[in-house]
């Protein structure tokens, strides 16, 4: 098991954004998280990628314990372990968050060289391969501001992949894109799934979720309401809240 999260709770001020979330992700699995706005999907990903600290619960990634709860309080691992765990995960943001002052090439190379201490030439070779895979071989010298949203997102995915994460998280990777550009990102994710990349994807693209997911999780109000195979959830769920949520998408 690559990721194990148990009884995650997260409060902002006094509001319980994550009530009690448990989640398992196996190696090579593609898990898609769906749910209404404000249900805590982003917060969950942010807790798993150390951008937020949980209030209680237990998270284990790639066999390393990130946080556990002792006497009702969340206790995090030492900073060395936390750094190692960070290197096992990648996160793709809704709005890309590329480094605007770095060229495309440098965006992909910089962390390899400065975080992983990889040799510069090796890092460049890895970046070139990724760019080729993303169909952006000729854009290495461009700056992010010169690229379309879809191209920027493909660079952001390359930047994450360059560090060889064990598990890749996506938080609505196509939401900031024009509809005609979402296809190119979904294609990239589909290819990654075919290469057995372990992924956790938050998305509102239901057709895509149905197609790419090994398992779908429906979240509402900080709780996992239901999870199962795409057939189980999209086909014939008996859960009333899931039904109502999916209804909104089939209406469109």
């Amino acid at each position: 098991m690559l990721l194990l999260a148990e009884n995650i709770q997260k409060r902002f001020d006094s509001e319980n954004v994550l009530e009690d979330i448990s989640l398992e992700v196996n190696e090579g699995e593609v898990v898609v998280i769906i749910g209404p706005s404000g249900s805590g999907k982003s917060t969950l990903l942010r807790c798993l990628t150390q951008l937020e600290q949980v209030n209680s619960g237990r998270i284990e990634i790639n066999g390393k314990l990130m946080v556990d709860t002792v006497d009702g309080r969340a206790v995090y691992a030492d900073s060395k372990t936390l750094h190692e765990i960070l290197l096992d995960v990648g996160l793709v943001f809704q709005n890309f968050n590329l480094f605007p002052h770095y060229s495309v090439m440098k965006n992909i190379v910089d962390a390899q060289v400065n975080v992983l201490k990889r040799d510069k030439e090796e890092a460049r070779t890895i970046a070139m391969e990724l760019l080729k895979k993303m169909n952006l071989s000729d854009r290495g010298d461009a700056y992010p501001c010169e690229l379309s949203g879809g191209q920027q997102q493909r660079i952001a995915i390359s930047r994450a992949l360059a560090l060889n994460p064990k598990i890749l998280f996506f938080d609505e990777p196509t939401s900031a894109l024009d509809p005609e550009l979402t296809g190119e990102i979904l294609k990239v994710i589909r290819n990654l799934a075919n290469e057995n990349m372990t992924m956790v994807i938050v998305t509102h693209e239901m057709a895509f979720a149905k197609e790419v997911a090994d398992r779908v999780i429906f979240m509402d109000n900080g709780l996992v309401v239901e999870q199962g195979t795409p057939e189980e959830l999209f086909g014939n769920t008996v859960n009333q809240r899931t039904k109502e949520f999916l209804q909104r998408y089939s209406d469109i």
């Binding site: 990628t49 951008l51 996160l91 943001f93 968050n97 480094f99 992983l116 501001c145 560090l163």
Partner: protein, 219 residues
């Protein structure tokens, strides 16, 4: 040669040597107050109130009172308090540096605040340390962001050097008023104006050049 009874070559000779003083004040202030301004900006952003609040009070005092008074304070204050002073030129530099660090602190604070949170988050998840994130990701973007305001501040600094005359530092304005009084003429003041204008033209062009160099990307 004389214009309006003023011996121009003598005036220019004195002005040029005074220009040396002005440039010295300018460069010393710039070199010292910019790093100090960064420290001030970071102190202002500190989550420890014991650091951020005194820093804010310091900025309020030095941005909220005339530089002229601050020059007097650093010139004569130490005499009253400790019975020993810094010396005329040192007092002048200390006042300028502390004053400008307060302004730069405010400019840099704004520049750092303008960098989107997503930049820190992307860097963190990629495994950059806090120090690497600041030096490699945040600072370069801050530099671009603060460049126009910094250029503005530098042009003000050139003109503010004229205030050093209140503690009798022999800078351009000081030389001009002395010559003006001796020869009953406004010519020295006009020449002084031209000197400031020439210096600021250089500053302005330098900053335009830097801004153009940083124009290779947009945020």
């Amino acid at each position: 040669m004389r214009i309006d009874n003023v011996p121009i070559d003598l005036l220019l000779k004195n002005m040029l040597s005074a220009t040396g003083t002005v440039l010295l004040i300018f460069f010393l202030t710039a070199i010292l107050s910019i790093p100090l301004g960064f420290v001030v900006a970071l102190a202002r952003r500190s989550r420890f109130k014991i650091i951020s609040i005194p820093t804010r009070i310091y900025q309020l005092i030095f941005r909220g009172t005339p530089l002229m008074l601050q020059l007097f304070f650093f010139m004569y204050g130490p005499f009253y308090i400790f019975g020993i002073g810094f010396g005329r030129f040192n007092a002048c530099i200390i006042a300028f540096v502390i004053n400008y660090a307060a302004y730069f602190g405010e400019i840099f604070r704004g520049g750092i605040a303008a960098i989107p949170k997503g930049q820190y988050e992307a860097a963190k998840v990629l495994g950059y340390s806090k120090f690497q994130t600041f030096m490699r990701i945040i600072l370069p973007q801050v530099v671009k962001h603060v460049m126009p305001a910094t250029g503005n501040e530098f042009m003000t600094l050139v003109k503010d050097t004229s205030l050093a005359q209140v503690i009798s530092v022999a800078e351009i304005y000081n030389v001009a008023t002395n010559a003006g009084a001796r020869y009953f003429s406004t010519v020295p003041l006009i020449v002084a104006g031209i000197f400031y204008l020439v210096m600021n033209t250089v500053v302005e062009m330098a900053f335009k050049l830097i801004e153009k160099k940083l124009d290779y990307y947009r945020t």
